[in-house]
């Protein structure tokens, strides 16, 4: 069975600094998607970034980028130039490329941004 592990329950970062959130996963599949979702206090989950496992190039979305290490089954999120609005829970998630479309989520990392 697939699992997703986020070992950092909470992280803090100074405004304008860079922070990296860690995620590891376990799967026997070769094709899959990995995601980072943001959940602010409003509870609305927002997709931050996704990575297709078959792509070697790391995904980037503005200030957000990932370090995808397929062999190590590691998928970390880097937030550059942190802003107060980045404060939220961040969840790492996995989904198979085909077949069942069940998503597996990690337990989340709470990010605090310090002014």
């Amino acid at each position: 069975a697939q699992t997703v592990t986020q070992s950092q329950p909470e992280m803090s970062v100074q405004e304008a600094e860079t922070v990296t959130l860690s995620c590891t996963y376990d799967t026997s599949e070769s094709d899959y998607y990995l995601f980072w979702y943001k959940q602010p206090p409003s509870r609305q989950m927002i997709l931050v970034i996704r990575q297709e496992a078959y792509k070697q190039q790391n995904a980037t979305e503005n200030r957000f980028s990932v370090n995808f290490q397929k062999a190590a089954k590691s998928f970390s999120l880097k937030i550059s130039d942190s802003q107060l609005g980045d404060a939220a829970m961040y969840f790492c998630a996995y989904r198979r490329f085909s077949g069942t479309y069940k998503y597996i989520f990690g337990t989340g990392t709470r990010l605090k941004v310090l002014a």
Binding site: V4, Q6, Y33, F35, S42, R43, Q44, M45, I46, L47, R50, F91, A93, R95, S98, T100, Y101, K102, Y103, I104, F105, G106, T107, G108
Partner: protein
Amino acid sequence: GAGVSQSPSNKVTEKGKDVELRCDPISGHTALYWYRQSLGQGLEFLIYFQGNSAPDKSGLPSDRFSAERTGGSVSTLTIQRTQQEDSAVYLCASSFGNSYEQYFGPGTRLTVT
């Protein structure tokens, strides 16, 4: 256009009562997911509907939980004989076909007293 909506936003119920939680997905989205988020926990998959296919119910924690999706649109999650451990935020998400991108609703916070 309108996003995924859920009702009620908050629900307080007494232990042993039945509750119904509603999800209105984005129009045209064929896939619908229910998740449970307990305090300090990640999202726990409950059930997945895709078009007219049989739903994937593998995440339902007990037979007190059931879900329906009528006309391929609105879905209702029913919890019978609620227990205190059912207290959580219940999130619904929808997507178009097998697209990877889920759109989430704001959730229903269920409190069982």
